[in-house]
Symmetry: C2
Subunit: 272 residues, 2 copies
């Protein structure tokens, strides 16, 4: 999917730090950086990455998020990595036997926006790929985040976890309207629409479309409903008027010889 426009400045403002605890694969650090870039996050902190740092595979997988990789900070312990933060969330799979509040990713995003709006420094811990965060590291956080997913298959890889929590962070601050109407010429005025309906119905009457006159009122209602659903523009109403005239005139005019058979068939009328 395209959609990257590097000419537009990213004015992200303060955002949570992403803290990867003992990440194993460089690729996953890269995917994390790319997901952060997608979501307006920039502060990446690494606690004891297994394959050392810097890591070429991380840079290769970051796919343009070089600034985040190059700006990543390295720490020897989780305690050091979160020392300056005053609100810490821990991304976990389902917790077992932990006396701890758990929020969904969506709820976490909304709370993080509120805390950061109030001036707090926030961060989110993510554990190693294979095992996730150990309980002692979860215990360093204020609260745990879980991502509700299909009960049998809630296991996510590291990049996907960061992507979803980052996505929710971005949505919580985004004001894209849920539905955007297409660019188009102005919607038709009712009088033009009604004139079109009456034109169509007149020509259908003339053509013998309705065989049983008792069915005419419901046919008219159904046709009008169908065209109303299409939310026609002024231009489209004009096009429809032309279309009706063309079909009617075409039927009356002699057609080109090569269309003779089709012509014969359509001359028989359509009935209901």
């Amino acid at each position: 999917m395209t959609g990257t426009d590097r000419s537009r400045a990213v004015a992200a403002g303060p955002a949570p730090a992403i803290v990867l605890v003992e990440p194993q694969l460089g690729e996953n650090i890269g995917f994390t950086a790319r997901a952060m870039n997608n979501c307006g996050l920039s502060d990446l902190r690494l606690v004891r990455p297994r394959d050392g740092w810097p890591n070429d595979k991380a840079l290769a997988a970051a796919s343009g998020a070089d600034a985040i990789i190059n700006g990543a900070r390295l720490f020897g312990s989780v305690e050091d990595a979160i020392a300056d933060l005053n609100r810490v969330y821990a991304a976990t799979a389902r917790l077992r036997d932990m006396h701890r509040s758990v929020v969904t990713a969506r709820q976490a995003a909304s709370e993080l926006r509120a805390h950061i709006g109030a001036g707090d420094s926030c961060g989110i811990l993510f554990g190693p790929e294979r095992m996730g965060l150990i309980n002692d590291h979860v215990a360093l956080a204020d609260i745990a985040i879980t991502i509700p997913l299909s009960p049998g298959f809630s296991s996510l890889n590291l990049g996907q976890s960061v992507m979803i929590i980052g996505y929710e962070w971005f949505q919580a601050g985004d004001d894209t309207p849920p539905r955007q109407l297409p660019e188009r010429s102005p919607p038709a005025a009712r009088k033009d629409l009604i004139a079109m309906f009456e034109h169509l119905e007149r020509e259908l009457d003339a053509s013998g479309f309705v065989i049983d006159p008792e069915k005419r009122p419901s046919m008219v209602r159904n046709l009008r409903t169908m065209f109303e659903r299409a939310e026609l523009s002024e231009q489209e109403v004009r096009t429809m008027r032309g279309l009706i005239v063309s079909l009617v005139e075409g039927r009356r005019r002699p057609r080109r010889k090569t269309l003779k058979e089709e012509n014969d068939k359509s001359e028989q009328g359509e009935g209901t």
Copy 2:
């Protein structure tokens, strides 16, 4: 992250088909299948995958979503792949110059739940990794979906796009409470909490904690607020009572000799 529990049945019910149009890398087909599995989706359709089908790399990357890979259906055209559907969405990056409604991923999920609830067969088109869907394929859909992301960096890879749209599909049908309280012993009754406050304040008065009597009311209020915020359980109130007694008694009792210096210091009292 762990969290996979294969013993729990997945009763997903009807869900949208995922249609990958000319996917390039087998890995991305695998990541798509894994994301579908996470999100309760199972109907995978492939239109002219570049590297042929079946594809070992797809199976390797699917990470347990073998049933989805093995059940994927192959089609020669987008038209064939969506022939049986009656509601089709197209996942796209920002559309340019298209006269077409666009919805967010969240809005699409809510609409898809409504359509599927009404018995419609639905599907979502995703384009090739490099370019996304061409306009002619978008035009085969009823409506376009975009994922609101950081303006400069809204480009997602195929697996991430499927993950987010699938995630929103799952959330739209999920009833996980936004915040779940931890398992714990019953919250303390107010009378026990107040008794604890009064015990603490009595001992603080006795110890000379408040030097300026005018400040006592605000000190009491602040301490009570602090403990109220912790939402103590019955058990924790009993622990706190024991803790107060221990600190008070310990001060009065002779300490072990090795702690003599510390002892001398704490005997001086703490002031405000």
